[in-house]
């Protein structure tokens, strides 16, 4: 997928929110959706199950307007976190320009986080993507929960962020850390535009 099309002067970024089930990926998108002016956003497509879990994927197109003569579009996707939607995850991940990994800060979810992270790497590898070169940020969601239920950021950093990517404490429900994550990732993605051969850092 060509990120920058100089002929049509378009920039399109596909950003995928990845993470274990119920970590808050769709919540991220909902918050973004609520903040984007209506003339900027497309319809958010959300295919949810009866129990409001993401069945297939969420899709949120955002039109950032014309920047330097380029009409700039972001496409935000979420994957279904549940382990048995492996194929869907893999499909959605295809052609991603960057990944936000939404981790569940709850202490009891640590294993799920790690499993999902491994799953991400396995899927990227299947797509032939070098995970070290893919723009990537960590979001530690649900940091608003009582402190005895969750792990602190330093702990999560230690457990999950072995590559030392930018990470953000978040409360997606109220919007804390949502745009920070997206912004950090977008910057990485766009930086790659000017320096396609270069690594993420």
């Amino acid at each position: 997928m060509s990120l920058v099309n100089y002929a049509t002067r378009e920039i399109t970024c596909k950003i995928v929110y990845y993470g274990p089930g119920r970590s808050g990926k769709t919540t991220n998108l909902h918050y973004i959706y609520s903040q984007v002016p209506s003339n900027r956003k497309g319809q958010m497509v959300s295919l949810a199950t009866q129990t409001d879990r993401t069945l297939f994927f969420d899709f949120l197109p955002i039109d950032l307007g014309v920047i330097s003569g380029f009409s700039t579009r972001f496409q935000l996707y979420t994957v279904p976190g549940q382990v048995y939607y492996q194929t869907t995850r893999k499909l959605v991940l295809h052609g991603a320009d960057g990944v936000v990994f939404v981790a569940d800060s709850q202490a009891r979810q640590l294993d799920e986080n790690m499993e999902s992270l491994q799953d991400l790497h396995a899927n990227l590898a299947d797509h032939g993507v070098d995970a070290r070169r893919l723009p990537f940020v960590m979001q530690y969601n649900k940091q608003d929960l009582p402190a005895d239920l969750i792990l602190g950021v330093p702990e999560l950093e230690e457990q999950l962020n072995f590559r030392g990517v930018p990470s953000f404490a978040a409360d997606a429900l109220h919007g804390r850390g949502v745009f920070e994550s997206l912004r950090a990732l977008s910057e990485q993605v766009l930086r790659k535009l000017s320096n396609p051969g270069g690594g993420q850092r």
Partner: protein, 631 residues
């Protein structure tokens, strides 16, 4: 020359580097002729010497409105003098300058070597001092370091006050920047000025240039900053807008980075004074060009222009700064201009291809010279400079000179060296023409740009004072640049009468290699060569006969060959030893009747050892040998 109205004491920034000079200049301006006379200010270029001169002129004008102030650069002074000389009005010229109350002369260092000007200047100077008229001079070096200046003038110059101006220190630099900011009403923060002043600029012009660059950058269209500021200011409460403005910045910065790079390059090259049409056109296109490639091409084009300009300036200093050298789009024009300059004023004549090294026969008589020539070709400019080849007329000096020239010019290097082989007479003629046409600088440029200079029959320069002078300067210039100089002469350099001692000693400083009239081996070889050249059969017997008589020059050999050839043709016979003997009047007896020379049969052995004149090959009877030893 008019005083520059902007250069006054009021806007002259005083710092540690120029405090003394400014104080002295003020004192001079307030009471011209009474205090330091002359006032001599020296210092590197761009430190405000001209500013001081003009400031003095303005202040004198203000204080004494009727005062006659003359402000000239030395070049103008020289030109005026030359014009006066050619119009036969030297007296008027002197008188006019004597009437002046304050004489301000800029760039005195160009007095170097201009004797007539120095003499005239000295005369004017003396009269002005006698009349208590003020003289103020500037130069880029102290008087005693200006080369070739008359002692008396030097004494006069040093008689007043000599002060120097040096590079501004930090505080002065900052003060200068602030003054410029105020004068041009620039909106540049003091912090930026301080940062800029922190760099150690050599002179004020560099400082100004840096400030200009800074101004150009801060006012130049830089959409990143412009677009960002309003968005960023408006945001804060809406995270999406905040995000959008961030993304906008990033997109502009990264997606448009090729444009940013191009803009940067355009600004840089504009700052350097080059036109950037190519880059601007690329910038206007929507497709991203290969920026690196584009910039590399552009830089190469600029480099080429620079080279062209340099070579043009070498031909004609007036071509420097021509606008075609500032526009890579007009490279073809620039090339044409240079070609025209080159055609109009070709470099001094090069070596004649007729004289090659491999057709230069070597024998004992010219062995040293030939070896020296080979050494020079192998290591031009380092081994023997100058190489002086001397010997009587017609022994092959010119041939060797051209052979060296050809070999030097054929050197296998990227830039073929410029080699000139000129006869001394031609050298003199060109110089005279240049002086007449007032193109001496161009003449100098042509010669000083040479990589090797070979001058034939240098003895012709003797007694020609101006030529010797110029040759001396040229010699020093070339020697300083480690360029090769080869000279031929009809006698050892030490014996050239009428040549200035300083020049003679320089000629003696290299290697003086003699060429003798051809020895017997050489004669044989030369006969063989010339006979072959005429398509004649060559055999050892014939050569032995031919080479027998001593000749003084190679030309004699050519004469003999031609004569014999004509004779043989007239008689319709082959060229035979008998014919040769008859024609040469071979009645000349050999010194020792018993001695028979052995024709050389082998090819190439040590020439000295095989020299027929030096080696007696057989001693058939004792009497000859005893006689030989007894001698």
């Amino acid at each position: 020359m008019r005083l520059d109205a902007r250069l006054r004491f009021e806007n002259l920034i005083v710092g540690a580097g120029n405090r003394l000079a400014v104080a002295a200049a003020r004192a001079v301006a307030e009471s011209p002729g009474a205090v330091y006379n002359p006032l001599f200010v020296y210092g590197d270029t761009g430190l405000g010497k001209t500013h001081l001169l003009c400031a003095v002129g303005h202040l004198v004008q203000t204080l004494q409105p009727g005062a006659d102030i003359e402000y000239v650069s030395l070049d103008e002074f020289v030109e005026q003098l030359h014009a006066a000389v050619s119009a036969g009005q030297v007296d008027a010229f002197s008188r006019r300058h004597e009437r002046v109350d304050v004489l301000l002369i800029d760039d005195l260092q160009f007095l170097t070597g201009r004797r007539e000007t120095q003499a005239e200047f000295l005369r004017i100077f003396e009269r002005m001092q006698a009349g208590s008229k003020q003289v103020m001079l500037t130069s880029d070096r102290p008087p005693q370091e200006i080369a070739d200046v008359d002692e008396r003038l030097l004494g006069r110059l040093s008689g007043g006050l000599i002060v120097d101006v040096s590079a501004p220190d930090f505080e002065t630099r900052l003060a200068i920047l602030r003054a410029i900011r105020q004068e041009r009403r620039l909106t540049i923060s003091s912090v930026a000025l301080e940062e800029l002043a922190g760099f150690e600029f050599e002179n004020v012009r560099e400082l100004q240039g840096a400030l200009n660059r800074l101004v150009a950058h801060s006012t130049g269209s830089h959409p990143v900053q412009r677009a960002r500021t309003p968005a960023a200011a408006a945001a804060t409460d809406n995270p999406f807008d905040d995000f959008l403005s961030e993304i906008t910045t990033v997109v502009q910065h990264h997606v448009e980075s090729w444009q940013a790079r191009l803009r940067e390059a355009i600004q840089y090259w504009n700052g350097e004074g080059y036109r950037t049409g190519t880059l601007e056109r690329a910038l206007a296109r929507s497709e991203p060009p290969d920026v690196a490639q584009l910039l590399a091409t552009f830089t190469a084009a600029v480099e080429q222009l620079r080279e062209l300009e340099q070579s043009a300036v070498r031909e004609d200093p007036a071509l420097g700064g021509n606008s075609v050298f500032r526009d890579p789009d007009r490279a073809a024009e620039a090339e044409e201009l240079v070609a025209r300059a080159l055609a109009g004023e070709t470099p001094p004549t090069g070596p004649s291809p007729a004289f090659a090294r491999d057709t230069y026969e070597v024998g004992t008589s010219n062995q040293l010279a030939a070896h020296a020539a080979d050494a020079v070709v192998a290591e031009p400019g380092t081994k023997y400079t100058p190489l002086v080849i001397f010997g009587p007329s017609g022994v092959g000096k010119t041939h060797l000179l051209h052979a060296i020239g050809n070999a030097l010019a054929a050197a296998d290097v990227a830039v073929p060296p410029v080699v000139a082989v000129v006869h001394a007479q031609q050298f003199v003629d060109e110089l005279v023409t240049a002086i007449q046409a007032n193109t001496l600088n161009r003449w100098r440029g042509r010669y000083r740009a040479l990589d090797a200079l070979l001058i034939d029959d240098v003895q012709f320069l003797a007694g020609k004072e101006r030529t010797e002078e110029e040759f001396f300067l040229l010699f020093n210039s070339l020697a300083a640049g480690r360029k090769q100089i080869v000279i031929s002469c009809d006698r050892p350099p030490g014996e050239i009468t009428g040549l200035e001692a300083r020049l003679r000693s320089r000629l003696e400083g290299g290697l003086a290699a003699p060429i003798q009239p051809p020895d017997r081996v050489l004669r044989e070889r030369l006969y063989a060569r010339y006979l072959k050249a005429l398509g004649r059969a060559v055999d050892a017997a014939l050569l032995a006969v031919l080479a027998e008589p001593v000749v003084q020059s190679v030309r004699e050999i050519i004469g003999v060959v031609n004569r014999l050839g004509a004779l043989a043709d007239a008689r319709g016979v082959e060229l035979s030893p008998a014919l040769a003997r008859a024609e040469l009047g071979a009645a000349r007896p050999t010194p020792f009747p018993g001695v028979r020379s052995v024709p050389r049969t082998d090819g190439r052995r040590d020439a000295a050892f095989l020299d027929h004149e030096k080696v007696v090959w057989e001693w058939p009877d004792v009497s000859a040998r005893v006689l030989e030893e007894w001698r």
